[in-house]
């Protein structure tokens, strides 16, 4: 007799799967006018913005380039830049 096959998965293991390459545009956090409102952190559907102390950045291993952070940043401190392919 052998154990049933592993059918559960480990918390957060999706980080093994990099979605960064899906991106066609990339958010560039300018760290310029940032008011530390954390909106970019909150609105990212891919949970990939982090930072603090007026410095935020996207984890480009995962950022899909949706542009929401840039669109919602109240002070336009994020630019979307086309990825060169």
């Amino acid at each position: 007799m052998s154990k049933p096959i592993q059918i559960t998965t480990k918390p957060g293991s999706s980080k093994e799967y990099k979605t960064g390459s899906w991106r066609t545009s990339r958010p560039v956090f300018k760290h310029d006018t940032c008011n530390d409102c954390r909106i970019c952190v909150i609105v990212c559907p891919d949970s990939c913005v982090s930072g603090g102390d007026f410095k935020y950045d996207a984890d480009l291993d995962f950022c899909k380039g949706c542009g929401i952070c840039a669109h919602e940043c109240p002070v336009d401190d994020i630019d979307m830049v086309l990825e060169v392919k």
């Binding site: 979605t19 390459s21 392919k85």
Partner: protein
């Protein structure tokens, strides 16, 4: 029978491209079977599709593991997955890229061609829809399907202005092609 595998990303029309190849072959009086790889991924994720072309009815339903031709709609995939896996010796790879084939770093026993399909599409269609453009090029360099076939298939699929623009883009790519590469 010739087997073609297409690589791209969800949303780039890689399944449509396979179907258009099939329809072009059909228009040319050949038999074809086109089908997707049926992934569960969403827009942006890597996807594949397949086409088989033959002068006899096509019966085998298996996926294409040893393609004669590869069409890569998104060059960023090259670093991510082994797009050329199983490519037949002497096979042909067509990549949408502004770079030269050598620069892609593909190590295969076959030929690599690049065409700036997205760029052409942006110019002519106004949107980054590289699939039809690539097919014009594919028709030209392989001679496997006729440009007329491609044209007809595109027009059927996209009636009206948008179809015409797609045909134009395909035509442009067709004209850019050099000699026919037999596989």
């Amino acid at each position: 029978m010739k087997e073609i595998r297409l690589h791209g990303r969800g949303g780039q029309g890689v399944v449509t491209a396979a179907e258009i190849i099939g329809q072009a072959a059909f228009a040319d009086g050949m038999f074809a079977l086109a089908f997707p790889s049926f992934g569960s991924e969403r827009m942006g994720a890597p996807v594949q599709s397949f086409v088989k072309i033959s002068d006899k009815p096509i019966r085998a339903r298996n996926q294409i593991h040893e393609p004669d031709y590869l069409i890569v709609q998104d060059s960023t995939l090259i670093s991510m997955i082994d797009v050329t896996s199983g490519l037949k010796s002497g096979g042909l790879v067509i990549v949408d890229s502004e770079r030269k084939p050598e620069e892609l770093g593909l190590k295969i026993d076959g030929r690599v061609l690049t065409i700036p399909a997205t760029k052409i599409a942006m110019e002519i269609i106004g949107r980054p829809v590289q699939n039809t453009t690539l097919l014009g090029y594919f028709a030209a360099v392989t001679g496997l399907i006729s440009f007329d076939g491609v044209k007809k298939a595109i027009e059927e699929r996209f009636p009206g202005l948008i179809g015409q623009k797609n045909v134009q883009a395909a035509q442009k790519a067709f004209e850019l092609a050099g000699e026919v590469v037999n596989v």
